[in-house]
């Protein structure tokens, strides 16, 4: 930790979670001086991923009033013994022995292949820093079984669970949804304005099986979701198909904790400065300059703007938090679902769960070693639902019983925790912007929207992570934009160019 730190910054960001890192990167990109701090010795805060040891340690930590992670507990289970060897393949010790092969997310999501985050990563070239794995199956529960939802023409063609007429109707329906946006004045949009998506589905000639498939797994909506919203979500799903792999979804290799780090990397490339294990001890406002004065490890720093994640005192003093997400994290030695869902030793699958009235939902992400998040032979189940209480296990009970009661899952480790969010907007100090903690969503849209919003408040005229130009398109001031760049020409053309220039010179001389 060098104390050659400059003393003046345009922006100080406290906490290296996803949203904060986006903002830091965006600010640095447009030329602002940025200092990015985190009192933890790792990046990502509650958006981070952990090795097995580190997760247990983190869950063991006593939460404080301002902690976004709370109500944490975990249990090791003994599993059945292998019939041949008489010993269980996996025990607590053998799992811990491979601690470093785990990348366990506190707040995992999956990404739509054509969604906001992916587009942002590509546009700003941050994708250079990240690797992804296509999600293998999108699933739903049907008659007590976990089944794969057809995600492509090929899936629809091959599935044995629909009759050919049903296949046709499904395709027709999805095509209609896909074309919907192009003609807002069409009959359907007029007829169903203000009504629910479920009503629209019922009015289409689709069977019950197809309707539940669309509601549950494609549009992922409930009985009260509006027609427009349902169409939009369906289009979002369809629009991400066919880009990478067989489903519309991607998962970051080595866990979602990689993503905040990517933004941090970009921030650093453009000049941002990083300090981990560095807390801010105090913060005050200088009334004459309107700068913030932060004291940290004995040094005083000045910043025009401050952005902070809510879990960092003293900056977040006075912020009240309440339960927002209930999380379950399980490690199993066998996957959920049948062989077809887990070809080749482990599917990376997404499953959306509902309660009987479809009033409550949860999503399950199953990860296998293919994502680099766990060793081969083990599976991670991430379960997430909006919190109802301070008891995450109770909140998730109805979903865990759906999943585990009649399955072959061999749970070795189970843990529960709560992610909390602000209940009011009291500011510890004026003009500090607090990012929202992770919210219940499948992708990062809300987080990015939050980052854009705060960025917009800070730097109203600047571009949020503009596109990086291709080297070829760049014209340096003073150069003729329609001239050829000798160095980017292949050998034979360069030779011709030189010949031509020579000939012109000789002509000039002759003149």
């Amino acid at each position: 930790m060098s104390d050659d730190l400059p003393e003046q910054f345009d922006l100080v960001v406290i906490g290296t979670g996803f949203t904060e890192s986006c903002i830091a990167a965006a600010a640095s990109r447009v030329g602002k001086t940025v200092l990015h701090l985190d009192s933890n010795e790792y990046y990502g805060d509650v958006w981070s991923s952990f090795s097995m040891d580190a997760l247990c340690a983190r869950l063991d930590q006593q939460p404080e009033a301002h902690s976004t992670l709370r109500n944490a507990s975990y249990t090791w289970h003994t599993t059945e013994q292998e019939p041949e060897t008489g010993e269980p393949t996996w025990t607590k010790d053998s799992v811990l022995a491979k601690s470093r092969r785990f990348s366990l997310d506190l707040c995992p999501r999956i990404l739509y292949a054509a969604g906001e985050l992916v587009q942002l990563l590509i546009k700003s070239n941050i994708c250079r820093y990240a690797e992804f794995r296509a999600v293998d199956h999108v699933c739903m529960r049907h008659n007590g079984e976990i089944v794969s939802v057809p995600c492509s023409r090929s899936d629809v063609f091959n599935t044995k669970t629909l009759t050919i007429v049903e296949k046709r109707l499904l395709m027709k329906f999805l095509t209609a949804c896909n074309d919907y946006g192009e003609d807002k004045s069409n009959e359907d949009s007029l007829e169903f304005r203000g009504r629910t998506f479920q009503e629209y589905l019922q009015a289409q000639r689709v069977t019950e099986k197809i309707a539940s498939c669309v509601m549950q797994a494609i549009a992922m909506c409930g009985p009260t979701t509006s027609f427009e919203e349902g169409m939009q979500r369906t289009q979002r799903f369809l629009g991400s198909l066919g880009r990478y792999g067989n489903t519309p979804f991607l998962f970051p290799m080595y866990g979602c904790g990689e993503l905040p780090q990517c933004f941090c990397r970009l921030c650093a490339v453009y000049g941002g400065i990083y300090c981990l294990k560095r807390a801010v001890d105090d913060i005050a406002l200088d009334s004459t300059t309107n700068d913030f004065l932060l004291s940290s490890a004995g040094k005083t720093l000045r910043a025009k703007h401050v952005v902070s994640a809510p879990g960092y005192p003293p900056v977040s003093k006075g912020i009240e938090l309440k339960p927002h997400i209930s999380r379950g994290l399980f490690i199993s030695s066998s996957p959920l679902g049948n062989e077809e869902l887990n070809k080749g030793g482990g599917g990376v699958n997404l499953l959306r769960l509902l309660d009987a009235d479809a009033a409550r939902e949860a999503f399950l992400i199953q990860l296998s070693h293919y994502t680099g998040a766990c060793p081969e032979g083990l599976y991670i189940f991430h379960l997430t639902t909006p919190a109802l209480s301070e008891d995450p296990a109770a909140d998730l009970a109805l979903f865990t019983s759906q999943l585990f009661d009649h399955s072959n899952a061999q749970i070795i480790f189970s843990s529960y925790f709560t992610i909390a969010a602000q209940s009011n907007k009291s500011a510890a100090a004026e003009h500090i912007y607090y990012t929202d903690p992770p919210t219940y969503e499948l992708d990062y849209d809300a987080a990015i929207a939050n980052a854009r919003h705060i960025f917009g408040q800070l730097f109203a005229d600047a571009d949020f992570l503009p596109r990086a130009p291709d080297p070829e398109e760049i014209v340096v001031d003073g150069e003729d934009p329609s001239a050829l760049n000798e160095h980017s020409l292949p050998e034979d053309l360069r030779a011709q160019l030189q010949d031509m220039q020579q000939a012109t010179q000789e002509m000039d001389i002759q003149d």
């Binding site: 063609f157 050919i164 296949k167 001031d477 001239a483 034979d492």
Partner: protein, 508 residues
């Protein structure tokens, strides 16, 4: 950073491109000039190869340059051969080192590798270049160490980029033949390809080559064995329903429902009539000159070869023979045309004569299981029509299915589908009208033997509307055609000629 970063406008980009193109023209002219000079001087060397590469990489269709490369390759190979022969003539100084021959082969192999690499580069630029593909084939033909498995992998790779590239498929067929890949394995490959993307006419086509070979049909009246046909029908209809906008599956289905007829099979006897003055013969398909085929009439002890056939009209399907034939009552006659032999029936009525008639398009054999499959399919199609009454392919295919299951019961309905298709698929109105005419005539001709005046009279009811009158040759054995006035007017000169007409004209 000094200098503002700016991105080119389209106008500036266009300007830049033009300048680049001017350079390319110069480079091309310079290189071609040099190449032609060297060729005249017989310099088929490495410099030549380098010069051709520059042009071919940008434009792989300049086939002359590939020719020159081949000349260079052959030149190099023959030089290598000379070297080896020279070496072999020298007395052996030491123990022959084990790897002497391979050194020459290595050199040759690297020559071939160079060609293969270049074609691969060129194919990345233009995967549809006839010249590049041909050069690859040529190179592999020259190379005794050609790695056909690798070529198969190359095909797989290219097919991933573009499943419809027929060059790649042709190349695949070439390679699998060389590598002696069993047809069953290729069929599996095809099946996998279809599972991933069933709307691929090229995959279905490839499949259609393998199936008749692997599962031949004994009666030769269907494209493959009935059992396999049933499986294929199921698969193809699923494809057709899953994406009815893609026509590949529907085309394939129509083939499956057809008779699998071969293009060059000999024509068969459609109708024949014999009286003492002469005979007429109608063929089921046209033939330019019947005299070239052997026709033989057998009756009792006699065997007469029928010659002096003349065409009745320009269609090539109707023929008349003016040989005097000694027709005996109470004798059973048979007619042989090439390999087909048919028994004649005596002509009803006072005049002496015999005839034969086989209505067109006889139904193929159909096992119980196949019939059940066809009926299931028809039901699915009809179900779908309730949701999509204007679906052209469903309308057409269900009509074909109806006729494959049972023509007479379904005749009216199938025509109704065609009438609907004339509206729903109006571009092809002419086709549907002609198809309706064919189906109607097939139906009428199938009924004809039960009619009172058969075979002397043929009557077509007034209300039968036809755009044309196909199968005209079948009427050459009749005396009288009762057609509506409207139809006669429409047909004008192309009203079919009857036996009676020929008698009147004095042909007999």
């Amino acid at each position: 950073m000094h200098g503002r970063v700016k991105v080119r406008t389209t106008e500036e980009e266009r300007e830049r491109k033009k300048k680049e193109q001017a350079l390319k023209v110069r480079a091309y002219r310079a290189a071609m000039g040099r190449i032609q000079k060297k060729r005249e001087a017989g310099e088929l060397d490495s410099e030549m190869l380098t010069l051709t590469v520059q042009i071919l990489q940008r434009n792989p269709d300049v086939s002359t340059l590939w020719n020159i490369r081949r000349e260079c390759v052959l030149e190099k190979l023959s030089k290598l051969k000379e070297e080896v022969e020279d070496e072999e003539e020298k007395p052996a100084q030491e123990e022959p080192v084990g790897d002497k021959p391979p050194v020459k082969e290595d050199k040759a192999h690297s020559i071939f590798t160079c060609e293969l690499d270049l074609t691969e580069q060129c194919l990345m630029v233009n995967p549809k270049s006839y010249s590049a593909w041909h050069h690859r084939c040529w190179t592999l033909e020259q190379d005794p160490r050609a790695d056909w498995q690798r070529e198969l992998q190359l095909c797989n790779k290219y097919l991933k980029y573009d499943e419809r590239n027929f060059h790649t498929w042709d190349y695949r067929r070439y390679v699998t033949a060389k590598a002696a890949v069993p047809a069953a394995q290729e069929l599996d490959f095809c099946t996998e390809k279809i599972k991933v993307n069933f709307s691929n006419y090229s995959s279905w086509h490839h499949r259609s080559l393998l199936l008749p070979e692997l599962y031949p049909n004994e009666q030769r009246d269907r494209p493959m064995s009935e059992e396999k046909l049933q499986q294929e029908l199921e698969m193809v209809l699923t494809a057709a329903f899953t994406d009815p906008n893609d026509s590949s599956a529907w085309f394939y289905q129509r083939w499956l429902l057809g008779s699998g007829a071969q293009l060059d099979r000999a024509p068969r006897v459609a109708a024949f009539r014999l009286e003492s003055q002469g005979a007429v013969l109608a063929l089921d398909r046209p033939y330019p000159d019947l005299k070239q085929l052997k026709t033989e009439l057998t009756g009792g002890e006699q065997k007469v070869e029928l010659q002096s056939w003349l065409p009745v009209d320009s269609s090539g399907t109707s023929w008349k023979c003016q040989q005097s034939l000694d027709y005996q009552r109470n004798t059973i006659y048979s007619l042989k045309l090439c390999d087909q032999e048919v028994n004649l029936s005596p002509l009803p009525g006072p005049e002496d004569g015999a005839f034969y008639f086989a209505p067109p398009h006889a139904a193929a054999s159909c096992s119980k299981e196949l019939l059940a499959e066809l009926q299931t399919q028809l039901q699915s199609c009809l179900d779908l029509l309730e949701f999509e009454p204007d679906s052209k392919w469903t309308l057409l295919t269900s009509a074909l299915l109806m006729r494959a299951i049972e023509v007479s019961a379904n005749h009216e309905k199938s025509l109704a589908h065609l009438a609907k298709l004339e509206k729903v698929d109006a571009l092809r109105e002419g086709y549907y009208k002609d198809l309706a005419a064919r189906w109607t005539l097939e139906y009428e001709l199938a009924k004809w033997p039960q009619a009172a005046g058969f075979p002397r009279n043929f009557t077509l009811a007034e209300d039968v509307l036809l755009a044309s009158l196909p199968y005209g040759q079948y009427f050459v054995i009749a005396d009288e055609l009762n057609l509506s006035i409207k139809l006669r007017e429409q047909l004008g000169d192309s009203v079919p000629i009857t036996f009676a007409d020929l008698k009147v004209k004095g042909d007999f």
